[in-house]
Symmetry: C2
Subunit: 209 residues, 2 copies
DNA sequence: TGGTGTGAAGTGGTTCACAGCA
DNA sequence: TGCTGTGAACCACTTCACACCA
């Protein structure tokens, strides 16, 4: 299989495999079969093998996959290299929590600054990064060459801020606002819509036991 | 088209349509075409019409859809009725922010209680709901007939807590822990993996302009 | 023998294209 | 004429099933 561009779905799974593999590695496990890793990752074995096909021959027939090698292979494929700077816009409830969230750092990101309409109002929140007023946004992005933004502003301001971001040449937006953002094709958006997730879940759960 | 069970993907879109429709309604717009609503929702017109096919004839050919009727039709289809009680487990950074997040309420949910290993440690956080120790969890779920849980505990405790939840007969888990939960088929899980979303986004964004 | 690698078949979801109706 | 409703074509992703090899 030639190295074609991977689908978003496969990519999610690769990231999950990687997490599971790291756990195995920490526990001193050296080899894992597709069925074991698949179960831990919540997928079918065949799917996992297909996904790993992107790297060519890594497993050993009759044995399984060497955990450490597979970790490196996935990492190389993903091109994880330097720490990636990120900014966050909208340091309200959720925004502040995300600034403190350590999961981003583990993934190789660093939230280097936050922006808010009222930076003084979050002064007491004891965040470890500077919070700037919105006026500084465009300059900051261009000077620091920021490509990724975490957007946590209220829905009614989301599109307006997005327009600014697009003009600044941003590359990707992780959007927590309950709004469908209109962006040009050159900009990627991942939506994390908390209310929607709960409503969606709720539909598949019967109310009575 | 008969009322067969809808796919999760269509369901997400229905919820998005509903939000867009409400905005239109607030602005006094009475009729909308599939192309206009589709654009606002970030989908193709044909897809939108297919999705609306679940309700049978609602649009008027040559004209479009009556906004208000469509809102009701979707709401009826989703079966949105009473306020649904939800509990949250793990009132740390993220958990506390979610308790204060008002998007859930808008969607017809009420977070009626939180649980934490150290409830006293969140006393100063000024949450508007009671925070109980984990010991009370099972009793609370059964007495209040809770079906939905928002899970915000650290990854290493997520499966353990989940096992308890499953035993209590919970119906659905909105999982914010970076962990693949193992649950029986009778339980639904929606994963919201923040770090994964950012990593995934990052892959599709080139580092240099 | 056991588990990978992979073409082929299957499945589900999207888009097209056009008939049908206000 | 304009826009909905929908079968049919299309496409992407998943799963099967088995050849192949340590």
């Amino acid at each position: 299989m030639e190295k074609t561009s991977i689908s978003s779905k496969s990519l999610y799974r690769l990231l999950i495999y990687q997490r599971c593999l790291r756990k195995l590695f920490e526990n001193g496990i050296e080899t894992v079969s597709s069925s074991a890793l698949a179960k831990a990752s919540g997928v079918k074995p065949a799917q996992l093998r297909k996904d790993l096909g992107y790297f060519g021959q890594i497993g050993t027939r009759g044995l399984g996959y060497p955990v450490e090698d597979l970790i490196y292979a996935i990492r190389d494929f993903l091109g994880r290299t330097t720490l990636k700077p990120v900014i966050l816009i909208g340091a309200g409830n959720l925004g502040s929590a995300l600034i403190r969230y350590d999961g981003f750092n583990k993934g190789g990101f660093e939230v280097i600054g936050a922006f808010d309409l009222f930076p003084q109002s979050v002064a007491g929140k004891d965040l470890n990064i500077p919070v700037y007023p919105m006026d500084n946004l465009a300059t900051f992005i261009q000077q620091k060459k920021i490509r990724l933004v975490i957007l946590c502003v209220p829905g009614e301001h989301a599109q307006e801020v997005t327009n600014t971001l697009v003009m600044c040449g941003i590359g990707g937006i992780l959007n927590f606002s309950p709004t469908v953002l209109q962006v040009p094709d050159s900009v990627s958006v991942n939506n994390v819509d908390l209310a929607l997730e709960l409503e969606n879940l709720s539909y598949f759960v019967t109310q009575d036991k």
